[in-house]
Every structure is written in structure tokens, then in C-alpha cells.
Amino acid sequence: MEPLLNIIGLTMDFGGIRALDSLDLRVRHGEIVALIGPNGAGKTTFFNCLTGIYKPSAGDLLLTPPGKGTRRLNGLKPNKVTQQGLARTFQNIRLFPNMTVLENVMIGRHCRTRAKVLGAIFRNHKTVLEEKEIVRLSLEILEKIGLADMYDEFAKNLPYGAQRRLEIARALATDPFMLLLDEPAAGMNPQETSELDDLITTIRDDGLSILLIEHDMKLVMSLSDYIFVLDYGKKIAEGTPEEIRNNPAVIKAYLGEDIDNA
């Protein structure tokens, strides 16, 4: 079977800096794949290329949605990529700070609904139904994420951890089959991180594939099915968590000797 996401020879240059260097990477359906590597290795850049925020200098981004044919993501605008079924979160949280939690999630539904200006003005039956459905679904997602009781709070007033989870909720609302998470555990304490672990597992069990960037090794090792390691834009290793944990190159560049303290 075709992998869900197949990246071939992805290269990204910023002026003189090569942030990604012919990267090959695959994600299969239903997998949690982690992308790790030292700071500045190019992980976030990879997400940005994939979601159309940056234009890659070279390489192919191939997506094969379940039950559909393969398509190239190169050159698609970010909103089109999301429509294809890829949703992401941001390393530096980018919520809509002055909108409520519920509204933030409702925005996620935008690309799956179709009410237009005239519908908005005349509020015909279809629009009303659609709007109701948006609210219902958004609340459902919030409940799953555990933010339902805060639905009426402004996003900017949420604690950090809750904001991170809200980003995930918002991404889920776009009905993706694949979720890209950029350091979801950053700024969370160990307690919250373990809750996040459960959350991501649930999402996977709902049938989504997940690509995860994270520096919290405990989380990565417990969650991932497969790990890619980047350094200076190049892939230096890939494998199962066990393989990676013992890979000397990875230990040297990234993990360091005694990993348990991290």
C-alpha cells in the first residue's frame, strides 16, 4: 500500500542556509511518527514546507489520502493543504486570542462548510442547519479534548497547557486524516504531559495518523511507532524507538549519554 505521506528529496534553502537537505520520509496510515533532532535541525521548517507556508526549493510532497489517488502538495496554498486533510499546530502558539474557545474550534470547521454571503444574510434553512452542526461538532471536539467547560473563555485567557490543547482541538475540527503536532508538550509539566500522551493515543485510535515533533523523549518514546531523526537538515537515522534510543549517531547529536534525566 502507498504510504499516506511520501516525501522525496525535500530541500529547503534560506539564502545561504540549507535548512532541509534531500529529506526522504514516509508516514503510513494509523501510525504515530515522530520527528526529532537538535534545535535548528529543520523540523519546523519541514512542517512549513509540507503545509504550504514555505515553498520548498526542491523535492516532492506526495499525499495519498485513504481510498483516493496520490496527489502532489507542492505549490498548494496552506488552505488547500488543509482541505486535503492535513492539519497542524504551531510551535509558537497561534490561536485567535480574542475569540472564544468555541469560536476557535468553529473556525476549524470553516473549510468543511459552505455557507456564503447570501446564506448568511437570509439565513435559509440550510445555513441554519449547518451552523447548528458546526456548534455541535465543535463542542463534541472540545469535550474530547477536555476543554468543554471553558468553551466561553477567550483563548488568550487560557493557561498555557490549555492553549496547546485548544490548538489540537482546532486542528481536529478541520476533519483531517493526518495531524501535524509541533512540540505539543512544550511548556507543560510532567502531569500535563502524561495527559497529553493519552489524548494523542485516543486521537490515533480514532483513525488519524500523526506526525509529531517533540523534545520530550519520554513522550516520544512511549508514543511513536516510528522515528525520524534530523540534524542540520539531513536525516541521520530512522527506526523504531528502541533502535533510535540506541543509535550512536542520535545519542551523540541529540540525546546525550544519560537520557533518563531529561
Partner: protein, 410 residues
């Protein structure tokens, strides 16, 4: 409340202002006759004025601080913002609404034609403000050339009427559509510009439209404008001035209601949400699958539509148009209405439009000083109420009853 130190500081402040205003306020030269007029008395006025202003702000701040202390100590309850209260408590807003509504309804019957006339102008600005509010307040696109679309509307009525004899009611929608197409025309190339770059380009566009109207004589009659534009007809009757103004008044009331209805519905729709989100964070928006260009264009075109329609009404009301009515200052005033009202808040925009447009009219008594006061009021309002008269009200959503109990706070 005012300490000796405050007085001391106040004196220093007034000394500074005396220095500051010295050349302009005290000296008046006639460079040709080579005479100098010294107006020493102005120095005293400046000193007194600045001293009082300083003390006033000091007292204001001190009282605010004292309030906060008292709130903290639990002596008094926190006062809810009156704007919010007005809107959120049915007990308050319903009667207010009825009284205001009735007031507007009988306005032309009890007050003079002149009062009605300036109220018509004010109502026109209400609609303009609400239209620009879609663009600036809701979608966050700073448009400094809004007046261009207003001009498009006004000239479409003037020209279509002159050349083809089309009537007011025919041109009203045409003007709106024409303005919308101009909005799209301009929007396509420039909407990817960020923030203030967009502002200057729209400003430029506004100027371009005005300059074309000014220079292209064979098309627009140039600076001398087009006169004798008919007022809107009423079942083909000929109306006297008073009646026709009253008629315009009710027409504007309907227009305002219609605008409020539409803008309100738009804001509370899928599109409206997308606009708000776009204002907050464009990149996140795109990542959520929102087509940035298209959404912005919609806002731009819709905003322009209202300007176009009010333009038609404007032409009908003044019965004369020339390019001088469509200067940058006009755009600036409409923008002031939006920001002063509170970005994205409908009631706020209405209140601000009424204040800003009626104020200069009622300040006619101080004719020399009115623009001075107008400018000062803008600054002071912003300094003391930067979020606008009525800060944006949050939208509420109907929560299905089935889920409600689960949402109650743990």
C-alpha cells in the same frame, strides 16, 4: 486628592506649555510690513489652560486608582462597563431601545427641517461607518480610501441620471454593485499587502479616483461637478423641500435598519467568523483552511457596496456632486467613526457616527474653534477610551440543550 507636589508639577507643565506655545501664540509677525504684534495675554491663557488640564487628568487618575483600591478592599462593587451593561441586560436595553426608536421615528415631526437634514447626514455616516466597519473593524483591513467607493456611488447616480435619465431607485443597487466591482478590482492586487501598506495603497486609490474625477472633464465635468441631480421621487409626486427631507429621513432610517440587519447577520455567520479570525492571525487562518484572498475580497467588496449605495443617496440629497466632497479627510472621518465606536461593534459605530457628525454641526456657534475642538475630542476620546465607546461585544452561540449540563463549570 491633589498634593502640593501635584501643584508643583502642574506649574512646571504649564511653564513648559508657555515655552512651547510662545512663538506661535505670543508673537504674530507681519513679514511684509515688518511689524511684530506681541500678545502677552495669550501666555496667561496657555498657562492657565495647561495647568487645569494637568490637574484634571491627575484627579481623573487619582479617582480611578482610588476606585481600584476600594474594589480591592471590597468596599464597593466593580462597576461593569456601561457600554457592555447597556447591551447585555435586557432590562436596560429594551426600554432604551424603545425610547430611542420612538425618538427617531417622530424626529422630523417635532424638529425643524434643518435638524432633520443634519440627521439625514448623520444617518448616512452611520451607514458608511457600518460599511467600513466590515472592512476595518471586523476583517481588520485598514482602508484609508473608503471614500473612493462613496464617490463611485455618487457619480454613478449623477452620470446615469444625466445621460440616461435613470431614477434614484434604479441606480441605488447599480451604484452598490459598481462600487463592489471597484472594490474587487482594487482588492485583487493589493489585498496581500500587510497592515499599513494596505492603508497607504487604499489611500492612494482614493486619491486616484478623486483625481480622475477632477481631471477627466468629458466624463465627469471635472471640478465644477454635476448639478441638478433629482432627489428621490415618491410615487411621482413633487415634494417641497421640507417634505423631501423628511422623506429622505425615513428612507435613511430604513437604510440604517437594513444595514444593521445585514451587518449583524454577516458578523454572526461563518463568513463573519472567518473575518474576525483573519484579523487575529492570518497564518493560523490559512492553516485552518480559510482562503485568505477570497475572504478579504468579500469583506472589501461588501464594505464598498454600502459606500456605493450611500454615495447614491448622497448625490440625491445634495443634488450636486463634485470631486471636492471625496477627499482623504472624508475617509479619515469615517475611519474615526469606526475606531471611536469600538472596532466591530455596531452600536458603537452608530453612536460614534452621531457624535462625530452632529458635533461639528452643533459646534457651529464656535465656528472658528470647531475643528480645533473636533481634533482635540478625537485625541481625548482615544486617550481615555482607547478601546472605543463600546468595545466589541462577544457573540453568543446557542448551545444544544443536550450538551448544556456537561458544560457547567466544574
Amino acid at each position: 486628592m491633589i498634593s502640593f507636589k501635584d501643584i508643583q508639577k502642574g506649574l512646571l507643565v504649564s511653564l513648559w506649555f508657555v515655552f512651547l506655545t510662545f512663538p506661535l501664540m505670543v508673537i504674530k509677525v507681519n513679514p511684509i510690513e515688518r511689524v511684530i504684534t506681541w500678545r502677552w495675554q495669550n501666555m496667561g491663557w496657555v498657562a492657565l489652560g495647561s495647568f487645569c488640564y494637568y490637574l484634571a487628568t491627575k484627579i481623573y487618575k487619582a479617582r480611578k486608582l482610588a476606585r481600584q483600591q476600594q474594589i480591592k478592599l471590597g468596599l464597593i462593587k466593580e462597576r461593569v462597563d456601561w457600554g457592555q451593561r447597556l447591551l447585555s441586560e435586557r432590562k436596560i436595553y429594551l426600554p432604551v431601545l424603545i425610547v430611542v426608536g420612538l425618538g427617531f421615528l417622530i424626529f422630523p415631526l417635532v424638529l425643524s427641517t434643518y435638524q432633520t437634514n443634519i440627521m439625514v447626514t448623520a444617518l448616512m455616516y452611520v451607514v458608511l461607518g457600518l460599511g467600513l466597519n466590515i472592512v476595518v473593524g471586523v476583517a481588520g483591513l485598514l482602508d484609508l480610501g473608503y471614500v473612493a467607493f462613496y464617490a463611485v456611488g455618487a457619480y454613478s447616480y449623477a452620470l446615469l441620471n444625466m445621460h440616461y435619465g435613470l431614477g434614484f431607485w434604479t441606480v441605488l443597487p447599480i451604484g452598490g454593485l459598481l462600487a463592489a466591482s471597484f472594490g474587487i478590482l482594487l482588492g485583487f492586487p493589493v489585498l496581500r499587502l500587510r497592515g499599513d501598506y494596505l492603508a497607504i495603497v487604499t489611500l492612494g486609490f482614493g486619491e486616484i479616483i478623486r483625481l480622475i474625477l477632477e481631471n477627466w472633464n468629458s466624463f465627469s465635468h471635472g471640478p465644477s461637478g454635476i448639478s441638478n441631480i433629482p432627489r428621490p421621487g415618491f410615487l411621482g409626486l413633487h415634494l417641497s423641500l421640507g417634505h423631501s427631507i423628511t422623506y429622505m429621513y425615513y428612507l435613511m432610517i430604513l437604510m440604517v435598519l437594513f444595514t444593521i440587519f445585514v451587518v449583524n447577520r454577516l458578523q454572526n455567520s461563518r463568513i463573519g467568523r472567518a473575518w474576525f479570525a483573519l484579523r487575529e492571525d492570518e497564518i493560523a487562518c490559512q492553516a485552518m483552511g480559510i482562503d485568505k484572498t477570497r475572504t478579504k475580497l468579500t469583506a472589501f467588496a461588501l464594505g464598498a457596496t454600502w459606500a456605493g449605495m450611500v454615495g447614491v443617496i448622497f448625490a440625491a440629497k445634495t443634488t450636486f456632486v463634485n470631486p471636492a466632497s471625496f477627499t482623504f479627510l472624508e475617509s479619515a472621518i469615517i475611519l474615526c467613526i469606526v475606531v471611536l465606536g469600538g472596532m466591530g461593534s455596531i452600536i458603537g459605530v452608530i453612536v460614534a457616527a452621531l457624535i462625530l457628525i452632529l458635533m461639528p454641526e452643533y459646534l457651529r456657534a464656535f465656528s472658528d474653534y470647531r475643528m480645533l475642538v473636533f481634533g482635540a475630542v478625537l485625541v481625548i476620546m482615544m486617550v481615555f477610551r482607547p478601546q472605543g465607546i463600546i468595545a466589541n461585544v462577544r457573540r453568543t452561540y446557542k448551545i444544544p440543550d443536550a450538551i448544556k449540563p456537561k458544560l457547567s463549570r466544574k
